[in-house]
């Protein structure tokens, strides 16, 4: 049974709701649909789940109307899609921009609903046997989807072979590292070297770190204190944005598209030119396909993950289908414009990413602001942690580092060197300690000595490594950090999707208390190594919904900057 069916404009005014189904909806499913699905460029999806409801929608792009149907999730109503398209057709006939109330539509809707239900019944009887297997698959999907909001949005309709192959590959790597990791934690006491003789010569310990006494004042000749002489961090420098001529890009695009697609001229050259001048044609799927395909390939050459590019193109298609072409515009330029809008919308953060504000707020509450850096191996967590510490220090914020990477050899020494150069305190407990406990003690220490920010460094871990992900979850649950920053490198390709979705999934699965902490922000590293293949930023933001807070673009302390949305969009679509 349908719970509700709404018709509203893209500007937000509700034009018509079904008065028969007068039940008030629990919560605000429509607003959530708009905020987490339609504005996130996921309008190409089939449906959206919100608590106990499932929502389906369709657009009438020409008139700027949205039709949404809400029904109980446990019911698998088959006639909803049919009903929506019928409602769309009949409503667009009576729609008038000046009219605000459409009470006469009630009768029409009642008839349409009965018709659709009847049709659904007959079809359902025929398809019952075939659909049984589909339904069980569908139920499994929805069962998984109950777990996590972001991950269910990310689940593909049909997981392709590529996805499974990729999982298998990372599984084998994960197994190896998990075996090694499994060997480490059970050892509580370190092994002592067995001494056979009484007067055995003592072996010189192999240790190349600088000699350090208790105060941490090492050999100052080798270590120069970074302090303020490295100059301003690039975070504070405004980027000069040059608005290039766009016409040259369009000409290049035209040439390429002309070369590649001589077979797409189904309508004939003259009629398409005529239509582009008068602008009367309604955009159909067949018209949009070649332009969208070219756009998708272009995005993929810029290192955007394949499934993300696919979903984006579907979303743009859904928003353009049926729209009237403006006069004197080509289809490709309309599609390009829509894609540009969509990309800017995705990359613009959903909430404010002002860390300074949050730090001040935490300072007022007399507690330190805790940031945890997570990510897979080798992306640059420790390096970028030092860069963030430098930037914060430049803004007169007192920082403390916590060395919770108790696994990798040299991790603690690395952080110790950074701390010495930047002259900030570091809390460390050596190796083979429980990172969650070390973090907790670090936060207590910070509260005691009045540090404003605690930067927690964790060990790199593969997303498929179950015990390590559990350990990370425990760290986050125990310490309740203010910001969970996922560090990802810009060189990553399709794996970005897998990394982020698995991290989010594990964090939400293994959280014990009511509030699940997911990834709050992304730190994109090694940005200087990619020239214009900036697609990894888009994949990561799309899949997790978290904004990019910092971009690391080099190996010195000042190489940290903000993400310039317009420049990235321009590079992606060039």
């Amino acid at each position: 049974m349908l719970e509700q069916l709404l018709i509203f404009t893209r500007g937000g005014l509700i034009l018509w709701t079904c008065k028969e189904l007068g039940k008030a909806l629990k919560g605000s499913p429509i607003d959530t649909l708009i905020r987490s699905c339609l504005l996130e460029e996921r309008s190409g999806e089939v449906s959206f789940n919100y608590e106990a409801y499932t929502l389906k929608w369709t657009f009438h792009n020409d008139l700027g109307l949205v039709f949404v149907a809400v029904y109980q999730r446990i019911l698998h109503l088959l006639y909803v899609d049919d009903l929506l398209s019928m409602v769309k057709e009949s409503f667009s006939e009576i729609y008038d921009p000046k009219r605000m109330s459409y009470d006469d539509f009630d009768e029409t809707f009642r008839q349409l609903r009965m018709e659709a239900e009847a049709r659904g019944m007959t079809n359902g009887n025929h398809k019952m046997e075939d659909d049984d297997s589909d339904k069980t698959n569908g139920k499994e999907n929805t069962a998984d989807n109950v777990v996590l909001d972001p991950s269910k949005l990310m689940k593909l309709r049909s997981k392709g072979v590529r996805g499974r192959g990729g999982v298998r590959k990372t599984d084998s790597i994960g197994n190896k590292s998990s075996k090694v990791a499994a060997a480490e934690p059970p050892k509580k006491a370190t092994k002592k070297n067995r001494v056979w003789d009484d007067a055995a010569p003592k072996q010189v310990k192999l240790d190349f770190t600088d000699s350090v006494d208790e105060n941490g004042n090492g050999n100052h000749d080798h270590v120069d204190i970074a302090a303020a002489d490295q100059g301003e961090s690039m975070m504070d420098k405004e980027e000069v944005f040059s608005s290039d001529d766009e016409s040259e890009d369009d000409d290049d695009d035209e040439l390429r598209s002309d070369e590649k697609k001589p077979e797409a001229k189904k309508k004939g050259w003259f009629s398409s030119v005529f239509q582009s001048i008068t602008g009367k044609a309604n955009l159909e799927r067949t018209d949009l396909e070649p332009a969208l395909k070219a756009l998708k390939e272009r995005l993929m050459t810029k290192n955007v993950a394949e499934e993300i590019a696919e979903k984006l193109c579907e979303s743009v298609e859904a928003s353009l289908e049926g729209k009237k072409l403006a006069s004197f515009t080509r289809i490709s330029s309309t599609v390009q414009g829509a894609m540009e809008d969509a990309l800017i919308r995705i990359l613009t953060p959903r909430r404010s990413i002002d860390i300074m504000r949050d730090v001040h707020a935490a300072k007022e509450q007399r507690r330190p602001y805790v940031v945890v850096f997570v990510g897979v191996n080798g992306v640059g967590k420790s390096t970028n942690l030092a860069k963030v510490a430098y930037w914060l220090q430049q803004h007169k914020v007192s920082v403390m580092m916590a060395a919770c990477d108790t696994f990798r050899s040299g991790a603690v020494e690395q952080l110790r060197t950074h701390a010495r150069r930047l002259q900030i305190p570091i809390f460390e407990k050596g190796y083979e300690k429980d990172p969650a406990v070390v973090a907790k003690e670090a936060i207590q220490e910070a509260t005691r000595n009045g540090s404003d920010v605690v930067l927690v460094d964790t060990a790199g871990r593969m997303q498929d490594n179950e015990p390590l992900m559990r350990a990370l979850s425990k760290l986050i649950n125990l310490n309740k950090p203010d910001l969970v920053l996922f560090v990802g490198e810009a060189l990553v390709g399709n794996d970005a999707v897998d990394q982020l979705s698995k991290f989010n999934q594990k964090l939400s699965d293994l959280s014990n208390s009511g509030t699940t902490r997911l990834i709050d922000g992304i730190l994109l590293t090694k940005f200087d190594t990619i020239d214009d293949k900036v697609g990894a930023a888009l994949s990561m933001v799309y899949i997790s919904g978290a904004p990019v807070m910092f971009v690391g673009c080099g190996q010195s302390y000042t190489d940290l900057k903000k993400l310039n949305v317009k420049a990235i969009v321009k590079t992606l679509l060039k």
């Binding site: 893209r10 504070d236 613009t348």
Partner: protein, 261 residues
């Protein structure tokens, strides 16, 4: 090639004949023609200058959920119809207020723009700022404290925008949903906003992502003093309204103050 030479000859003939022809015209007519040309260009330029200052665009901005769309339809039609959802696109309209329909005579219509408040659609607001004659910043008086920080950040962004500072666009801080019992008063909201703006001012760097190409170099307020709205060079006033009940008198008065009927 022959055609080209013919053309060249013709052009040469014309150029030779030109000065002779000009000399034949009595000088008075020549001066009159030139004078008329100059006059029309001067008039056109002055029209453009004059029209720029008399724009009649009013911008409705504020966080998502503060009641802008409802307010828009109240001002236009006198009723909020069947309610609203989160806007995905701006609502624009040029009209005379619903309450002013009864008045006789020619009243200048207002071009009202309701910009979406969702943070992802923030760039849409910046498109309309250059043409705005006044800005109404709508704040939810009911759910004020949880959203106080976001609202003050948004307001700070608007007040430090280059267009707003240069043209001294007046801003009205409109506290919406005052019909509800637990809504805060406008004095409370004003004080809270000033306090939050103080924090915004204190920070040296703002890490807002999408302003990389808009020069937000302006800071507002006086150094060393607690921020107050009177420090802004443009006028900032506070008013109350209720979108659902149709109490939009204060907003209408503010708009009519700057767009004379």
């Amino acid at each position: 090639m022959e055609n080209l030479e013919d053309l060249k000859l013709m052009v040469e003939q014309w150029t030779n004949q030109g000065p002779e022809y000009l000399q034949k015209i009595p000088p008075f007519q020549l001066y009159a023609a030139i004078g008329l040309l100059l006059l029309t260009t001067v008039l056109l330029l002055s029209f453009r200058l004059v029209r720029r200052t008399k724009s009649n665009t009013v911008l409705l901005s504020g966080l998502s959920g503060s009641g802008k769309t409802v307010l828009f339809y109240q001002l236009r039609d006198g009723s909020s119809h069947q309610g609203s959802v989160t806007s995905m696109e701006p609502n624009e309209g040029t009209f005379v207020f619903h309450s002013e329909h009864a008045k006789k005579g020619k009243i200048k219509p207002v071009h009202l723009v309701d910009a979406p408040g969702h943070s992802r659609l923030r760039p849409k607001l910046e498109e309309f700022l250059p043409q705005a004659a006044a800005i109404v910043f709508v704040v939810d008086a009911l759910e004020f404290l949880p959203n106080c920080r976001a609202a003050s950040e948004y307001l700070y962004d608007i007040l430090t925008n280059a267009n707003v500072v240069k043209k001294k666009i007046p801003v009205l801080l409109c506290c919406n949903k005052t019909d509800k019992l637990t809504a805060h008063t406008k004095e409370f909201i004003k004080k809270q906003m000033e306090k939050e703006m103080q924090y915004e001012k204190l920070r040296a760097s703002r890490s807002a992502v999408s302003t990389a190409d808009i020069a937000n170099d302006y800071t507002i307020g006086i150094e060393g003093e607690v921020f107050s709205f009177s420090h802004c060079c443009n006028r900032v006033t506070v008013a109350e309204a209720s979108g659902l009940n149709g109490e939009t008198v204060q907003v209408q008065d503010f708009i009519r103050e700057y767009i004379k009927p």
